[in-house]
C-alpha cells in the first residue's frame, strides 16, 4: 500500500526550495514578533518612570515632572532615528575606520554592512517588505534610549527646566549611551573583540552610564532650594504620593522583563539558539532566573540596609537587578541572589553618602541605584565570571577587561553631562527661576493645580533632626539667605547676607 502511494505523495510534495523559503519566512516573522512584543512590554518602564517620579515630586511639581517623561519620547525618538542608530551601527571600532563597511567577521558575514543599514535614508530604516527584523530591532534599542534618558529624569526634578532636560536627555539617549553601546555592547565593539568586555544585560552601558551622566548634570544644577541647611545638613522633601512611586517602580520591574528579553538575539534559521548581545550562546530561561532572583535579593538588601524604608526597599530591588545584569547570562541563581543582596545594600549606603556627605541633591537616588550599581555589576563580572568566553572572537572576560570598560565609559558619560549642563547654566537655561521653584513649576508651566478637587494642606519638610515643620517659612528663609540661589557650601548663606 505504502509503496504504491509513496511515489504519488512525493510527486505532490512542494519543492524543497519552497519549503525552505516558508521556514525562513516563519523564522523571520517570529523574530519580528518577539522584538515587537518586547517593545510593548518595555513601554511599561516609561509608564513606571512617570508614575515613580510624579509620586516623588511635591504636589506643586507633579505635572512638570510627568511631562518630562512624556516629552522624552518626543525628543529621543527623532534624534535616535536620525543619528543615534547610525552611531550604533558605525562606531563599533571607535571612530569608523572603514566608512560604511562594518567590521566583517569570518563565518558571521551577517554583521558586515550593518553600518550602512543604519543611516536614516537606508532601505532598512523605512517600510521594507524584504526586511522583517531591522525595524523592530531598531525599536528595541530606541526603548533602551528612552530608558537612559528617564534614568536621569528623576534625579533632576523640581528645579530643572523642561527644555534643558529634553536637550540633555537627547544627548544622553541618542549620543552618549549609544556610543558606549557601540563600543561595549555589540558584536563588533572594540572593547568586546579586544578585551572580552562583558555586560550582557547592560548594567554599565545603560544604567551606569546614565548615572555618571546624571552626576555631571547634578553638579551644575545644584540642589533644590532649602534641601540643605546653611551648615550643610540635609532636609527631606516628602513626595506627594509614595503609593504612586511604589507602583511606578513595580511597573518598571515588569517592563524590565521585556528589556531583558530584548537584550537577546534570536533567529532560528541563522543562529542555532538564543544568543546574548555579543552573540555568545545563552537562554531566555537563564536570564529570567537571574532577573527574578535579582529582584528578590535586591528587595532583601534594600530592606535591611534602610531598616525597612519603603522607598529604599523597592529601589533596592532595582539596584539588585542592575548589579547582576552584566552577568545575567552566566550567573547561577544562588550567586545572583547573593550579589543582588549586596547590590541592594550598596545602593542604600551610596545614596546616603551622595545626599549627606557629598551634598548632591539626587531626588530619587538615581546616581546610587543606576550609576553606582551599574559600575558594580560590571566589576562583579570581572570577579565571578572571569574566563568566560565572550563574543565572536571568544575573548575571555577578565577583571582587566571589565576595568577597561569602566575606565572608558566613566569619562564618556560624565564629561558630556557635565559640560552640556555647564553650557546651559551659563546661558541661564538650565534651572527655573528661584521664585518659580518656590511657588511650584506647575503653575508657571501649565497655569493650574493638578489636584483641583483636593484641599491644599501646608507643605511639610523634614528637618535634619527628624522634626516635621511647615515648609513655607523654611524655604522662604532659604531663598533669602542664599539670594535665591541653591547652595551646598557650609555657611554660604551667611557669606551672602
Amino acid at each position: 500500500m505504502i509503496s504504491t502511494l509513496l511515489p504519488t505523495w512525493l510527486a505532490q510534495a512542494p519543492p524543497v526550495e519552497d519549503v525552505d523559503a516558508k521556514v525562513n519566512l516563519d523564522s523571520l516573522i517570529l523574530t519580528e514578533q518577539f522584538y515587537f512584543w518586547t517593545v510593548v512590554i518595555m513601554w511599561l518602564i516609561h509608564v513606571g518612570f512617570m508614575a515613580y517620579e510624579a509620586g516623588a515630586a511635591r504636589r506643586k511639581n507633579v505635572m512638570s515632572t510627568a511631562m518630562k517623561n512624556i516629552l522624552t519620547i518626543a525628543v529621543v525618538t527623532p534624534t535616535f532615528y536620525y543619528f543615534g542608530w547610525y552611531i550604533y551601527g558605525c562606531f563599533e571600532e571607535g571612530w569608523p575606520k572603514d566608512g560604511h563597511a562594518s567590521p566583517t567577521v569570518e563565518g558571521l558575514e551577517i554583521l558586515g554592512g550593518f553600518c550602512q543599514n543604519t543611516a536614516p535614508w537606508a532601505a532598512q530604516m523605512g517600510p521594507n517588505l524584504q526586511d522583517h527584523v531591522s525595524a523592530v530591532f531598531f525599536l528595541a534599542f530606541l526603548l533602551f534610549s528612552w530608558t537612559t534618558a528617564s534614568i536621569m529624569s528623576g534625579a533632576l526634578i523640581e528645579r530643572v527646566r523642561l527644555s534643558a532636560f529634553l536637550i540633555l536627555g537627547a544627548l544622553l539617549g541618542s549620543v552618549v549611551w549609544i556610543m558606549d553601546a557601540a563600543w561595549g555592547w555589540s558584536g563588533g565593539g572594540w572593547l568586546v573583540t579586544r578585551f572580552g568586555f562583558h555586560d550582557s544585560i547592560a548594567s554599565l552601558v545603560v544604567h551606569g552610564v546614565a548615572g555618571a551622566f546624571t552626576l555631571g548634570v547634578l553638579l551644575n544644577l545644584g540642589p533644590r532650594i532649602g534641601k540643605y541647611t546653611t551648615d550643610g545638613a540635609a532636609r527631606t522633601f516628602r513626595g506627594h504620593n509614595t503609593h504612586l512611586t511604589l507602583m511606578g517602580l513595580m511597573l518598571i520591574f515588569t517592563g524590565f522583563y521585556g528589556f531583558y528579553a530584548a537584550c537577546l538575539v534570536i533567529q532560528s534559521t541563522v543562529f542555532p539558539g538564543w544568543l546574548n548581545i555579543y552573540l555568545s550562546p545563552t537562554t531566555l530561561g537563564a536570564i529570567a532566573f537571574v532577573i527574578t532572583i535579582g529582584f528578590a535579593g535586591g528587595f532583601t538588601g534594600g530592606w535591611f540596609a534602610s531598616k525597612g524604608d519603603p522607598f529604599w526597599t523597592l529601589s533596592g530591588g532595582l539596584a539588585g537587578v542592575i548589579s547582576v545584569s552584566a552577568g545575567a547570562d552566566v550567573y547561577h541563581p544562588s550567586l545572583a541572589y547573593l550579589l543582588a543582596i549586596s547590590g541592594g545594600m550598596l545602593a542604600v549606603y551610596a545614596g546616603g553618602v551622595i545626599e549627606k556627605k557629598l551634598r548632591i541633591d539626587d531626588a530619587v537616588g538615581a546616581v546610587a541605584v543606576h550609576g553606582v550599581c551599574g559600575f558594580y555589576g560590571v566589576f562583579l563580572v570581572g570577579i565571578f565570571a572571569g574566563g568566560y568566553p565572550t563574543g565572536i572572537n571568544n575573548v575571555e572576560s577578565s577583571f582587566g577587561g571589565q576595568l577597561m570598560g569602566m575606565l572608558a565609559f566613566l569619562p564618556l558619560a560624565f564629561l558630556p553631562g557635565y559640560f552640556a549642563s555647564w553650557l546651559l547654566k551659563k546661558m541661564n537655561l538650565l534651572r527655573v527661576p528661584a521664585e518659580v521653584e518656590l511657588e511650584g513649576l506647575d503653575l508657571a508651566e501649565f497655569g493650574q493645580d493638578f489636584y483641583p478637587e483636593f484641599e491644599r494642606v501646608p507643605e511639610v519638610v523634614i528637618e535634619p533632626d527628624g522634626r516635621e515643620v511647615d515648609a513655607a517659612p523654611v524655604l522662604l528663609d532659604a531663598y533669602w539667605q542664599t539670594n535665591g540661589r541653591p547652595t551646598t557650601r557650609v555657611g554660604a548663606g551667611e557669606e551672602r547676607s
Binding site: 536620525y82 532601505a123 521594507n128 527644555s163 537627547a170 537655561l429 527661576p433 511657588e439 508657571a444 522662604l476
Partner: protein, 76 residues
C-alpha cells in the same frame, strides 16, 4: 513564492509607492532633511516657549511681593 494571490507583484507596487522611491532616492533625502529640520525647530521651540513662561511667572511673583523676606519689607 505564493500562488494563492499575486503577493510578490503587489509587493513591488506597494513598495514603490510607500518609500517615495526607495533607498537614497531624492524623495527619501528630502523627507530626511525635512524631518531633521522639524526636530531642530522643535528643540528651539521647547526652549523659547518655556523661557517665556518662566520669565513671565517669575516677574509676576517678584512684583506681587508674595515672596517677601520674612520679617522685613520686600526689597525687590
Amino acid at each position: 513564492m505564493f500562488d494563492a494571490f499575486p503577493y510578490d507583484e503587489w509587493s513591488e507596487d506597494v513598495a514603490e509607492f510607500w518609500t517615495f522611491g526607495g533607498e537614497g532616492s531624492t524623495g527619501t533625502w528630502i523627507l530626511t532633511v525635512l524631518g531633521i529640520a522639524a526636530m531642530v525647530i522643535s528643540f528651539w521651540g521647547f526652549v523659547q516657549l518655556e523661557n517665556a513662561k518662566l520669565r513671565r511667572q517669575a516677574e509676576r511673583l517678584r512684583s506681587s511681593g508674595a515672596l517677601s523676606r520674612p520679617g522685613a519689607s520686600p526689597t525687590v
